[in-house]
């Protein structure tokens, strides 16, 4: 059994450290995002920003410190978040009169401000997003996936009515789905969270859920319809065209640096990272091989290819260091560089180079005059291939034929015996919190979401056997 199968968490932590994506720090649960890790985030930011702006959203920035009294205004919200809050109690040598929380999310601060910014229907909709650091002092942490401080974007919008707000909630979920599938090559199921898994203070929470290579789920993004809950808590009212005062309907939606962790856990292999070309800090590495130092034509040709790739906006690196080719191959495989091109004297004589994609397969000889085109082509096909492979893996590990809790337990046991992941299971649910909780207590499988497009419909509750109201994904989750 490979390291990855044997102890997935250990493989994950080893890999992201060796590949120089992050480092631990002495502050509990807080990591340093090293350049290769942070750059994945920058590519995610660029694509998200493009989509947010295209749909009329603008960025803003709100204070990180939130007065304790703000949290108390929405009771579900404070109940959900208070166990995880760090507090500033002193500043500039003095004890503060009121404790200030490090934001876990910004609905309260933004609610307070929106109540001032929004007066009339003319001010609506308000479509604002924020890129920020947030804090949740969690007991168990895992780099990128669950850290005390993390980076995210949080959208906060206000609308005239429920219909418009719900449309926004769905629109943003759809954008998340597209970005995660197209940019990160991670297939997701979009759907609705069950009430027990809702965001603290939401009327409805929707999510996209992704399967990691160990079969566990990651909630890769959420979008919430908040109804008038925060509007009532913070008195966000507007004057309608008919001159009536009405509460706005708000939404919020977020994705975070856990996407960095997800992309590693979905695509990585024994040799290290496998990065989708669109988010790879280095997309192509050019490596001279054989007695290349005696043969200046090799570096000349590689310089030429380098310049051409660069001019096309491709993130390319030419490694002419003194390390051996084998050492370099290993290093760039570890770092997940999508495409490698080798050029040695014999290749040059044959007017060819050897190209290899990170996700397996053989080295291919490419015509030197078409090297750049071949690389461009490979980057595109690899991007699609990674998504398709991840989809195949996910579908193979998604089980739709498990109808009862006993069957689920047996499935989990069998999986353990066979040393394979139990994956996800699609099951019926009667809508009763107690059934959901019982499954969780017995199996650690929690409801991921009620998918909009389930691969099958399940008619009976997995726990009580009564008629199911929903067909739900159950899985162990990060």
């Amino acid at each position: 059994m490979s390291n990855q199968q044997n102890d997935f968490t250990k493989w994950y932590i080893d890999t992201i450290q060796k590949a120089d994506l992050m480092d631990y720090t002495p502050v509990r649960g807080c990591i340093a995002f090293k350049p290769d890790g942070y750059e994945i985030w920058e590519h995610i930011q660029d694509e998200m920003n493009r989509r947010f702006k295209e749909t009329g959203h603008r960025n803003a920035y709100f204070p990180m410190l939130i007065p304790e009294s703000f949290f108390e205004k929405e009771k579900d919200h404070i109940e959900g978040f208070s166990p995880e809050l760090p507090w500033v109690t002193e500043a500039a040598g003095e004890k503060l009169e009121e404790r200030l929380a490090l934001r876990p999310t910004s609905e309260t601060m933004i609610g307070h401000l929106y109540s001032d910014w929004i007066k009339s229907y003319r001010d609506l909709p308000v479509l604002i997003n924020q890129w920020a650091n947030v804090f949740r002092w969690e007991k168990k942490t895992l780099p990128f996936i669950r850290t005390s401080e993390f980076l995210w974007q949080e959208g906060h919008t206000a609308h005239v009515d429920e219909e418009e707000a719900r449309h926004e909630t769905m629109q943003m979920l759809e954008i998340y789905k597209e970005v995660v599938e197209e940019l990160l090559a991670i297939p997701v199921y979009d759907g609705q969270k069950t009430p027990s898994e809702r965001f603290a203070g939401a009327v409805d929470t929707f999510s996209i859920e992704a399967m990691m290579k160990d079969g566990k789920a990651v909630q890769a993004g959420t979008s919430h319809y908040l109804g008038t809950k925060f509007a009532e808590a913070f008195d966000i009212k507007y004057l309608t065209k008919e001159n009536k005062h009405q509460f706005v309907h708000t939404t919020s939606w977020g994705t975070s640096t856990r996407l960095i962790g997800s992309v590693i856990m979905v695509h990585g292999d024994e040799q290290g990272l496998v990065l989708p070309p669109r988010v790879a800090p280095t997309q192509v590495v050019l490596i001279p091989v054989g007695p290349w130092k005696k043969n200046p034509a090799i570096m000349e040709k590689l310089d030429e290819i380098y310049a051409e790739l660069k001019s096309k906006g491709i993130r390319v690196r030419l490694d002419d260091s003194d390390q051996s080719p084998g050492f370099k191959f290993n290093e760039y495989e570890l770092k997940g560089v999508p495409v490698r091109l080798e050029l040695g004297p014999r290749d040059l004589d044959n007017n060819q180079a050897l190209m290899k994609a990170r996700d397996g397969g053989e080295k291919v000889a490419v015509d030197l005059t078409e090297a750049v085109a071949s690389i461009e082509q490979e980057l595109q096909t690899m991007q699609k291939r990674l998504l398709e492979n991840a989809r195949t893996f996910r579908d193979e590990n998604s089980h739709t034929n498990i109808d009862t809790l006993d069957e689920l337990k047996k499935h989990i046991e069998d999986s353990a015996t066979n040393e394979v992941t139990p994956g996800w299971i699609l099951a019926g649910w009667c809508g009763d919190d107690a059934c959901e909780e019982h499954v969780k207590d017995e199996t650690k499988f929690t409801t991921r979401n009620i998918p909009f497009n389930p691969p099958a419909e399940k008619s009976a509750c997995i726990n009580c056997g009564n008629e199911s109201k929903h067909t739900v994904w159950f899985a162990r989750a990060y």
Copy 2:
């Protein structure tokens, strides 16, 4: 006397609020950056990132919370910053064993990590930048210019020796100068800070200094050569080619959201903001005038111009709301939109439109077939014009003929009598801290920097009359 001259601070605060750049919040000294304010920052970020990456730097992200013990490792650093630190003392319901500071800057956390990341000369240079929120709990705050929480970038680099580190320090200062002059149209003097104005823990601090319209100075960016101070405090050593252990030489450099405040204070006028085209959220506004609703050809033409500007990447807005043209003119002037184009029925008959630049001058008739080209041209000339006008204003208010403290006092009195700013003065300084401090105590004029290219050389110390070691800018500063 205008509002701007009468009470500059009031004018500033009124203007940025009316123009919707920011809002106050209930957390002391913490503001909300509204979309039009934040977008100026985004344009600054884009340009800085471009320049940083071009010069080999990469972004990363470090924890915001810094253990108290880290600060104590560099004594100048803790002395300088401890009076302004907010502290997290509790988290998740428990008192922390060690207080955690909200970072005022990240030398200590980064020093701690670099000591682990840097082992050999092969690991050098380390060229990293971070975009982050930072905290300095100041007594007196002013939106954008001095806030308890602000946004900034902080570069942190490590080098084999002093020469390379000093070269980096100067390179980054030069980049700041270019960005601030070319993007923000703010002329600056680059130079060296006096020891009393140095960054806490630096060997040498260099700055760019800008003059606001009230004659006061803003330190618009700083670049520090830190020598081996932080390397010694955090044990950042590397193995040389000769197999010796040596301390690295480090630098740090930063610019912040005070640049947003500066651009308002340098270019704004009685009518509101005046934004340099390159950072204006809206660069061009198109406004139909006259009985345009009865004449669909007007909106057709404006739609056409809008589409063409948009396709060229120009940030354009077409305002076809029901407000009167006069109302719209005022609103976009208040918001500092660089160029306005009006089109009414009579203009259309004459195949022309009226164009007006925000920074004054008359409306100009432009040929409709060349409207887009005229607008593009005007955006470029306005960008240059703003810089030149700011330079003229600065030079007119920079005084090089004041030789003694008495002359300075008289100059300040005369300026008050004439209701003009005393501006900056270029004076000699013997190098004695006491002389600098005496000038400050008597006049509130502090040393801004020792300019690399002073407009004159001053031979005697302004305070003691002894031979001057340096020619220095003195000014009141934000």
